[in-house]
Amino acid sequence: MTGYRLPMGGRVNRQTQLAFRFDGATYAGFEGDTLASALLANGVQLFGRSFKYHRPRGLLGAGSEEPNALISVTRGPGRFTPNLRATSIDLYDGLEASSQNRWPSLKFDLGAINDRLGMFFPAGFYNKTFMWPRSFWEKLYEPAIRRMAGLGHPPTEEDPDHYAATYAHCDVLIIGAGPAGIDAALEAASGNGRVILIDEQDELGGGALSDPALWPWLDRSVKALAASPNVTVLTRTTAFGYFHDNFIGAVERLTDHLADVPHGPREKLWRIRAGEVILAQGAIERPLVFDGNDTPGVMLASAARVFALRFGVAVGRSIALMASHDSGWHDIFALAKTGVGIAAIVDVRDAVSPDLLAQAEALGIPVHLGHSVIGVRGRLGVKAISIARNGGTGVADLACDALLMAGGWTLTVHLWSHSKGTLAWRDDLGAYVPDQPNENVRCVGACAGAWSFGDGAVIDILPTPKDPTRAKAFVDFQNDVTAKDIKLAVREGFRSIEHIKRYTTNGMATDQGKTSNLNGLQIASTALNRPVADIGLTTFRPPYTPQTFGALAGHAKGPLFQPTRKTNIDSWAEENGAVFELVAQWRRARYFPKAGEDMHAAVNRECRMVRSSVGIFDASTLGKIEVVGPDAAEFLNRMYTNPWKALEPGRCRYGLLLKEDGFITDDGVSARLAADRFHLTTTTGGAARVLNMMEDYLQTEWPDLNVWLTSTTEQYAVIALQGPNARKVLEPLVEGIDLSAEAFPHMAVREGTICGIPTRLFRVSFTGELGFEINVPSAYGRALWERIMAEGARFDITPYGTEAMHVLRAEKGFIIVGQDTDGTVTPQDAGLDWAIGKKKPDFVGKRSLARPDIVAPGRKHLVGLLTEDPNVVLEEGAQIVADPNQPVPMTMIGHVTSSYWSEALGRSIAMALVVDGQNRMGQSLFIPMPGQTHVAKVSSMVFYDAEGARLNV
């Protein structure tokens, strides 16, 4: 068939012809066409294959409700988009589209065997058949089902496009720009408030676009809105979700309709907060349910009207109508006036208004009242229909090449339902209408039920003489659900419409049942013998139509997926070949490999140099909190496990922080700078959590304490200088601080300057060596680092990363909260009893340390592990057993928390949480790994310099 473009009419620009391809064949259309209208104009009726049965399918609708015509569009590498509705694809020159779910071709599809075997694919088929054996599901059933039943293929290449996002605020937001929405926008525009009008189509007008009598009004209205400075009009924009407090998500499609992909974002996510929302989303015509209603060429009457009057395309040359509603008659009359041949009007009702009959007669259209279509002939397109009286008599065949369905109207209440507005059933409309709002929102026009489409009868299935078990009368076209499936679900005991929906999958396809929900409900109502209003309605959820992941992700992808925090010294590390790792959003240097070194060689060298000379480490990421005020010491005394009040200014203390349940949540070394001022440090990952916890206690439990907490993490760059030569490197650079061992002992703090920069200088060590941590204002970090590097050159000063830091601290048995603890470890479990102020009457978590489960024997303790084979480095996370010969499942008594090669000891070391570990010293335990079971002895966690001789120098 060719040549279905009407000689005149429509809103397409016949002066501009566009060439496009569909499944490899080249066609021509006009500017203003959709892919659907352009293909129809070329005589294409077959658009795709159905989801389950691979049945040939054509267009059902003309808008975003279209369930059948799902299309893939490619625009070059990475720009492949599956599952687009042909009715929503704006035509452009060079458009490259293809059909889906068919092999080898759309006209000859091997998967259509499913259709012949249809009796073996009833509702719940997958649930019933592929239950057993369970192991077959992943490897056999699911991949096979996915190959056979499916939508388009996912894109395989990275998306080269970018996506924008914006927030917008307005007094009135109108969603839907049909006549009712435009009227509402014009009214709102006359006020002073900000107005946003959005519509999913390429131009405003909605239903008016297929009603030429309204075009002069539409033209005036669009110009008036454009001239209103307080009105923002967004076309090609879908309001996909309605969220709390009048917050609406919408996606504007910016480039997909253009022949050449321009620079700039492909789509834009609008997050709109509106004072009032006006929903003017219209209504969607309902298909009728009868055998063969999915044959290509069977479509909604309203869709045929849109194709004829908006696009100038006839959907056939001899068109029949199957109606239960007046609106279809008006559509047929409009088509007849464009010169299209009309085969007949069939209406299931026994009587209609005399006015309709008179118009039909005037147009010479044969009318069959009290009749229904009982069969459709033609597989790839309608060739003829059989009709019969509702009683089954008077069967006759009618030749036609298209059959329109007019089953009444379903109001588009999706967004209303997202907003939790209630719905009420109206028998006269056979539809749910908006009832009580839950937000400042109202509906206008057809979606409010305030639009007259004429009279109609509400029926579930057309009368048919055919054996209903053989009939294929489709309800959900996209998910291939038939009336028979819904009846079967009811027979098998399903009562709730939510359960019937999930069992049959009715309404669960990507169109969310826009054309199927109400028919499914009517059929269930009849089968259950209960009124529709008693059965309820399934829930609508965002998105209204499918949206791209790109639009929702916006700029938050790749390096912008989350912030990367960098220290002032980070650029030096990058220039000097550091390998980085992410720690709590901070980018940290993990190690600094020299030419030819792998990680282990580099880490071993870095460890050696710290222990033998001096290493330099960027510790800027440590969390820092300034605690100031007359009650600062009292506050810390209540927060931490150990005593703080007696700490003298100039001294540091290791602080252990518990949650109220008694488990370790953070630790760090902190300094008292003055009677009323402390410089706290926290773990890198715990900084925000600790500040929040402290603020909580300060604000809500102890508001009487006069204390101020300020995060200073990013105010200071911190350089750790560690190793026996650390003091010698520092001495020439520091002014105003006596660095001698006597004047500046371990765990002390001094203020002075370094290279002229004010500094808080800590003498602390996380390595077990003589060490300093130099705090300077962040901006000086890299400059100071380079001065220290220059000064340290004579000692072969060595930058080291987090990996060496981990090894060095483990050699000393220093724990890392969150690695060696997991939120269930008490101070006793971790061997940190010494950090508990025994005389303190109270601190956060103290009472919990006396809970029955905490004092009970058999808890897991943190201990050291030394493998029998010193060259075996255990895997962190490996499980530990006491009896290696126990059959599986074995009794696991703990796991390895930290494990490294210790260069200083020339062997491996590990830490582990082990049941009753502190009472197992010297005992051999077993770590079963694939192919081999390792043996290790429980030991102290302090593997190196247990007496601390290297610290106090």
């Binding site: 709390h244 407090d245 939790k420 909580d696 206690y697 809500t700």
Partner: protein
Amino acid sequence: MILIHCPYCDEKRAELEFAYAGQAHIARPADPSALSDEEWEHYLFIRANPRGRHHERWRHIHGCGRFFNAVRDTVTDKFETTYKAGEPRK
């Protein structure tokens, strides 16, 4: 995205400026050591899970930083009211 009224800023701001902070009006005992294990267990772990009005704490963490109390309906997710920490239960 819900709008939440911060009683300190006296402004309705978007939910993403706030952090949830658990059930409200659970005061830390003045002397925890005086509590029995059962009483301490109750303070630590036992929380209401109502269908309807729920007294809860929020923090205007990306705003003024203050903790405050709120009454929220767990069915509709609507805030009935918010009030400052230390004010009587509403």
